[in-house]
Amino acid sequence: MSFQVIEDRHPPVTKTGVLGWIRSNLLFPWYNFVLTLVSSWIIWSIGKPFIQWAVIDAYFGTKSEVCSTTSGACWAFIRDMWPVFMVGVYPEDLRWRPLIGLVIVLALVALTCIKQFRSTRWLRFLWLLSPVAVFLSIGGSETLGIEVVSTDYWGGLMLTLVLSAVAMIFAFPLSVLLALGRTSNLPVIRATCVAWIELIRGVPLITILFMASVVLPLFLPAGTELDKVLRAMVGITMFFSAYLAENIRGGLQGLEAGQYEAADALGMSYWQKTLLIILPQALRIVIPPMVNNFIGILKDTSLVGIVGLVDLLQIAFATTSSPEWFGLLEEAYVFIAFWYWVLCYSLSRYSQHLENKMDTGR
């Protein structure tokens, strides 16, 4: 008897390729088929009216009169008003100044993306300088001869971004101190930090914003004037310092005890140990959660509308109450939702990317 080779046969066509994929992922067993039907129906019943409204029946021209007659979306509104969504009631002839601020930040981000420049000293210096430059370009300064634009005129996406950036910049050092305080072994300092963190984490942001806008002026010496935007900044910064501190504490506790012990054994003082050994490692671990925290800030700045600021969310209501564009809230909503979503989604992807990179790095 001789050994006979049987020719390799291809798997049945229904098990591989596109057909096989459809079969196993969409159709079989029977309940899978039902689920496919149900989800197709959901997608259809939401997607179809939306596409009908946003694309098929929509008006893409520029005349505002058409808006009251069309049954679909009237994108003329967005075409005309998008700069207001970006900067609010910022003086029209000075709109190039926030743009300069944006260009500065984007240029720095681009430089940081280039590997050779990433850890150079001058780039870090430029980053440290950038908040001042952005502030000067948006707010102006009397001493430098740049026309001052009062914060009453700040608004839109610009205000949302400025509030979040300021909250992050000021909350970060504060939260490092709070986290160190919470892990300190001096009871008075620890108790103070725990009280601050737990008090703030226990109450909603809106009560802190109310506190910053109505109670804070009472706490300061009579005659001190704080403008509305500054008060909101104080509130948001206070709020996020507590949440950031908890993240950073996670990083501090995530370090091996050996790192602390080795630093002590070398005879380092508390601050030498903290600044040279502990913080550089701890902060590295907590970058991804800090990015998530920043997404939180970005979303939560929408609450400043309740204490009277006109951020990206409130701009939707402000623009649609003007007689020319009355009641086009849906269009405005699609536009601002697009901005919030793109910003938050890309940041969350970035944070995931960092997390993956760190996992493989170890």
């Binding site: 196993s24 009560t207 969310l313």
Partner: protein, 456 residues
């Protein structure tokens, strides 16, 4: 003998620690005094009094959604006393059992004793003294205190409903994401990605100003089987009016639910001794239907059903959910469910594959694999972040101020505008939310400690 090296005072760690703490304390006290004096000066300049006396003043404004609040009279103290006695006695029992190296969960009779002490006896006392609880409703001539209480009741209502709904919705979305069906898994993924990347206030405004405003007028209400009516003024549902036997009926349901615990435990014991699961379904159904049914037969209908009926310009009867409430609950539920879905999904995925394979290799049935092996381990991962989400619902309910639903913050805001007592109002807000947060996290810490993995 070696001479101790002399450490200068300012290098002595103990002295330094004391000095730093003293400096910090002194700084804080100085800050507090400064703030206190500034506040007094500012208040005097603006002609605003301080203290909580204003809370007794007449509120004078209308509240769109009024909950009935209980007022407790002297007799209610008996209930509290019974409850307190029950808790103390249970604790004593637990300690006594601990000395005997037993646990409360070991024998049915200990559990029975605990339930009798902490639930049955206090409920009985409450039932006997039910005349001591009266109900009041806010009116325009009520005090600010009443207004705040009404707001607080609304906050609690939204929080509880939001927690329950968002958990279930989150569970469904998580299961959808884990489903082998490609389409539904992608659909659920994008549900999560869209919802958690848009601000919650924006979503509330979307439901309130865009979706609900586009609903038809009262006369053209969307009618779902004559039971549900949906229109611009809100959602109308049938309501249950409690009759005389209602309280007895509720107690019967509670007792039936508790007895399920025993049926399950018995089933587990039978499973452990014989390998065959004890009967669960039939006894459970018998108890669940039988006990309340008996009360129904003896005491008559516990609840009368009242349908919403269109009369004139609005619906009469039934329960009307205001558009504000509807928007708030839908908005919070949808937003938080996206986070809950991610938490549940990662919890289920965190249980390593080997666990499932081992359970299957032991011959466990698929549902037992889930219930006895996967879920208990996943719960450990799921519970702590879920707690923060529940806390987030309680806190986010304060965004109701944006859509005008009268909960604690929006009513407080109205009072703040009327009376100018900003320090007191903000103080009340913070105290209330802080207590809610501490209560929820205390409860969850207790639960987490119970389900914690016992190592060595």
């Amino acid at each position: 003998m070696m001479e101790k090296p002399k450490v200068p005072l300012w290098r002595n760690p103990t002295v330094r620690a004391r000095f730093y703490q003293f400096a910090m304390l002194a700084g804080l006290i100085a800050l507090a005094i400064n703030v206190y004096q500034n506040t007094l000066e500012n208040l005097a300049k603006r002609g605003i009094g301080s203290g909580f006396g204003f809370l007794a003043n007449e509120a004078g404004f209308r509240i769109g959604e009024i909950s009935t609040l209980p007022v407790f009279k002297g007799g209610f103290l008996w209930f509290l006393a019974a409850l307190f006695f029950g808790l103390v006695a249970s604790k004593a029992l637990a300690n006594w059992l601990k000395q005997k190296h037993e646990k409360i969960g070991d024998k049915d009779r200990w559990i029975l004793a605990i339930i009798a002490l902490t639930v049955v006896i206090p409920l009985l006392v409450l039932y006997l003294g039910r005349d001591t609880v009266e109900t009041v409703q806010y009116t325009e001539s009520s005090s600010y205190t009443m207004a705040l209480m009404t707001g607080f009741a609304n906050t609690i209502k939204v929080t509880i409903i939001g927690c329950i709904l968002s958990t279930f919705l989150g569970l469904f979305v998580a299961l959808g994401r884990l489903s082998p069906n490609w389409l539904i898994s992608k659909l659920c993924k994008w549900y999560v990605e869209v919802n958690r990347n848009l601000p919650v206030l924006m979503q509330l405004f979307f439901w309130y100003f865009i979706v609900i405003q586009q609903l038809p007028n009262v006369r053209q209400s969307v009618n779902i089987g004559d039971w549900l009516f949906l229109n611009k003024r809100g959602l109308y549902l049938p309501s249950f009016i409690p009759q005389e036997s209602a309280l007895a009926f509720c107690i019967a349901v509670a007792v039936a639910l508790f007895s399920l615990v025993f049926i399950w435990r018995r089933s587990k014991r039978v499973l452990e001794t014989t390998g065959e699961p004890g009967k669960v379904l039939i006894p459970s159904l018998a108890v669940l239907i039988g006990l309340p049914g008996l009360v129904w037969l003896v005491g008559g209908t516990p609840f009368a059903l009242e349908m919403p009926v269109l009369k004139g310009f609005n619906f009469r009867g039934g329960t009307g959910l205001t558009p504000e409430f509807t928007a708030l609950v839908i908005g919070l539920t949808v937003y938080v469910s996206a986070f809950n879905a991610e938490i549940i999904r990662s919890g289920i995925q965190s249980v390593s594959k080997g666990q499932r394979e081992a359970a299957r290799a032991l011959g466990l049935k698929e549902r037992h694999v889930m219930r006895l092996v996967i879920l208990p381990q996943a719960m450990r991962v799921i519970m702590p972040p879920m707690t923060s989400e529940y806390l987030a619902i309680a806190k986010s309910s304060s965004l109701a101020v944006g859509v005008g639903y009268p909960e604690l913050v929006s009513i407080g805001g109205t009072i703040l505008n009327q009376s100018g007592q900003s320090v007191e109002i903000v103080g009340i807000w913070m105290a209330v939310y802080l207590s809610i947060s501490l209560l929820i996290s205390a409860g969850m810490n207790w639960y987490n400690a119970r389900i914690k993995l016992v190592e060595r």
